[in-house]
């Protein structure tokens, strides 16, 4: 009967898509895990004692970017499974790893450039050597990654605040996280997932503000410049 053939076709199609989904989920878990490791690596380098904070940032950023090239290789490998309309069909399977990747790359980028990585820059990273994207980067995933970034920036600001140059870095982070939070708030009504994450971003911002405030209060009783304070402290701790 002709329509039994049709169902045979459907069976094949379902099985193919299911297997594809399973293999994408596996790749997605690998990418998420690698991206998280990059974030830890960045914190690790930034927590080392260093004479030149700006050189330290640069070194961290470069190490991070280098490791993220491994992640890029996985994306390059799975791109065939995401060609044309397959990407959106299986978007849910790889959305978590895209967000974690954006979080990691934007963190590494911030350490190297002191700015937020742009949407197009991330899309460019997710492209082959000729600049052809492996697949379209969904704006939602990019924005969610940025929202998560605020948490990592908060950790960076807090744990480095007593180090040479740490107060200055915390102040700069405060500015960029505040901007990020304000702008993401504007996007939030359009993107459900960002909306859910913004409460955490607000907490992170408040933590940074409190930390910066504490440094101001702490030094307010003394007429000393930042450098002299740094100097006194680094000799004693």
């Amino acid at each position: 009967m002709a329509y039994q053939d049709m169902f045979d076709e459907f069976k094949k199609e379902f099985d193919v898509q299911n297997d594809r989904r399973e293999s994408l989920i596996k790749a997605s878990r690998d990418i998420t895990s690698l991206s998280k490791k990059v974030i830890f690596l960045l914190h690790r380098i930034m927590n080392e004692d260093a004479q030149d904070p700006s050189a330290q940032s640069k070194r961290a950023s470069e190490s991070g970017m280098a490791k993220l090239r491994e992640v890029r290789a996985i994306y390059a490998k799975i791109k065939v499974e995401l060609q044309s309309d397959l990407f959106w069909r299986h978007h849910r399977a790889i959305s978590p790893c895209l967000q974690e990747y954006v979080e990691a790359i934007s963190f590494a980028w911030y350490l190297g450039h002191s700015t937020l990585v742009s949407f197009n820059q991330v899309q460019q990273e997710l492209s082959d050597e000729n600049g052809v994207p492996f697949f379209p980067l969904p704006l939602e995933d990019y924005l969610c990654g940025l929202s998560d970034l605020t948490g990592e920036l908060m950790r960076l600001a807090i744990s480095g605040i007593a180090r040479r140059g740490g107060r200055d870095r915390a102040r700069k982070i405060c500015v960029i996280v505040r901007e990020c939070k304000t702008e993401l708030d504007k996007c939030a009504p359009h993107v459900r997932e960002v909306r859910k994450k913004q409460a955490v971003a607000a907490e992170s911002l408040a933590k940074i503000e409190d930390a910066v405030y504490a440094t101001v209060i702490r030094t307010s009783e003394y007429d000393l410049s930042d450098e002299i304070l740094d100097c006194i402290i680094s000799r004693s701790i």
Binding site: Q4, F10, D85, W88, L116
Partner: protein
């Protein structure tokens, strides 16, 4: 830096406008779907499918099915290339009802199962749109299950209205369709749950056939 966020906001607005345009077309498709469902509901009080009584219903449904061509074309024009799966949840519910209407109409007219290709044709969906607007296999299957749900009611109501042959035809048709579904490895999703419900429809239809056969209300088959 502002331009960075401006750029992002620009993209968001584009998506928002796209969504709005799709919503309009879907509202239209949904209206057509509900109209057809309303008409086909009358089959339960007009069950003698073999006679001319079914013709007026089909005559009422067909022009609406044909009008779906426009909506299909509009959606194919709005959805960007390769983004079919991004937006399809917006019209899944409506398209399933439309598939149901087309499939039931086909069964009533010719006693045969409409194929996915034939359904696409009926709705004026072109092969080359498949990365923008087409009927996903799942939606087609949902439509067929809805049809069987109604056919089990029809089997019952046919007998009530004195047509003792209809249940037997329905039974054969539904059994074959069920055999097709059995081939599929389904995920634990809505489709699987609805497939489970299909078994009950089949059982109901079979019970009607039992009743009819056992009461010898129908002539024995040669």
């Amino acid at each position: 830096m502002d331009s960075h966020w401006d750029y992002v906001n620009g993209l968001l607005e584009q998506d928002g406008e796209l969504r709005e345009k799709i919503r309009e077309q879907v509202a239209d498709l949904d209206k057509k779907a509900r109209d057809m469902a309303g008409i086909l509901d009358k089959i339960h009080s007009t069950p003698s499918k073999s006679t001319s009584r079914v013709t007026p219903l089909l005559d009422a449904v067909r022009p609406i099915l044909h009008n779906c061509h426009e909506t299909s074309a509009a959606l194919a024009a709005i959805v960007p290339p390769n983004q079919f799966w991004r937006w399809k949840d917006m019209w899944s519910h409506s398209i399933r009802t439309v598939v149901y209407a087309a499939a039931l109409a086909e069964y009533l007219a010719n006693g045969s199962l409409i194929s996915l290709e034939r359904t696409s044709e009926t709705l004026g969906i072109k092969e080359e749109w498949k990365d923008r607007f087409c009927i996903a296999v799942e939606d087609y299957l949902h439509g067929l299950i809805t049809m069987v749900n109604e056919l089990s009611r029809l089997a019952v109501n046919s007998v009530t209205l004195g047509d003792y042959e209809a249940p037997i035809e329905i039974s054969l048709f539904a059994k074959n369709l069920f055999a097709g579904f059995t081939k599929l490895n389904l995920k634990n999703d809505l489709l699987r749950r609805r497939f489970d419900s299909l078994k009950y429809d089949l059982k109901k239809i079979e019970e009607v056939v039992y009743d009819v056969k056992l009461r010898k209300l129908t002539a024995p088959r040669s």
